[in-house]
Subunit: 124 residues, 2 copies
């Protein structure tokens, strides 16, 4: 199972890397303009996740989005905050923000999902 570079994969990877905001499957589909099947997009996204090229974020409305981020590749930590703008609907990574919190005993944390919503700098 050696991964191959196909038209679809290359294009989708480019799209996500060059996008400032996280993209959903349907947004990607619209950008591709029929370059490949809907199913292929799902499968390519899965592969890009496996290869740690992108990461997955659940938006505050439950819509799943995909983004690449700088720190991912180097430090392999996807534990950063995301910001969801209620006006322009953009979802962005705030990679430098590290929240602190104090949990009760006996909870073992392995992942964090932290999204703030409101107005982004462009919209406020």
């Amino acid at each position: 199972m050696k991964p191959r570079n196909t038209k679809a994969k290359t294009k989708i990877k480019e799209l996500i890397i060059s996008s400032y905001t996280a993209l959903s499957q349907s947004e990607i589909q619209n950008s591709l303009q029929g370059l490949c099947d809907r199913v292929t997009i799902y499968r390519v996204l899965e592969r890009l996740l496996d290869e740690d090229i992108i990461h997955k974020i659940v938006n505050t409305d439950g819509v799943i989005k995909f983004a690449s981020c700088q720190s991912c590749s180097s430090e392999h930590s996807h534990n950063h905050i995301h910001f969801s703008c209620q006006k322009c609907k953009s979802l962005t990574c705030l990679e430098d923000v590290e929240p602190t919190y104090k949990l009760p005993n006996n909870y073992k944390v392995s992942e964090m999902n932290f999204t703030l919503s409101g107005l982004c700098p462009q919209c406020s």
Copy 2:
């Protein structure tokens, strides 16, 4: 538009209030055993949200869940942490945990969505 108390609404409200964990639409549907239509559940949940009896939480996998919590009714603040157990799949409110974070300028925050995943006390 004066809200009415119907069988479906009463039962669903009871279900959510008496549940320790947040419930999804499908979990509610299974509990109701055909008491009402699928569509009715969606509509009742919407009304309960409007009336601030329950609140909505997006789980880490994008599944939307509903819960009632003590502090909601009194302080009207849904800004607390949630915990999603990867083993028993439960989603619970951690109402006393208040995270701190420092955002860059120009972001206006109006809502918070913070879910930690891992193992809950029962499962760890």
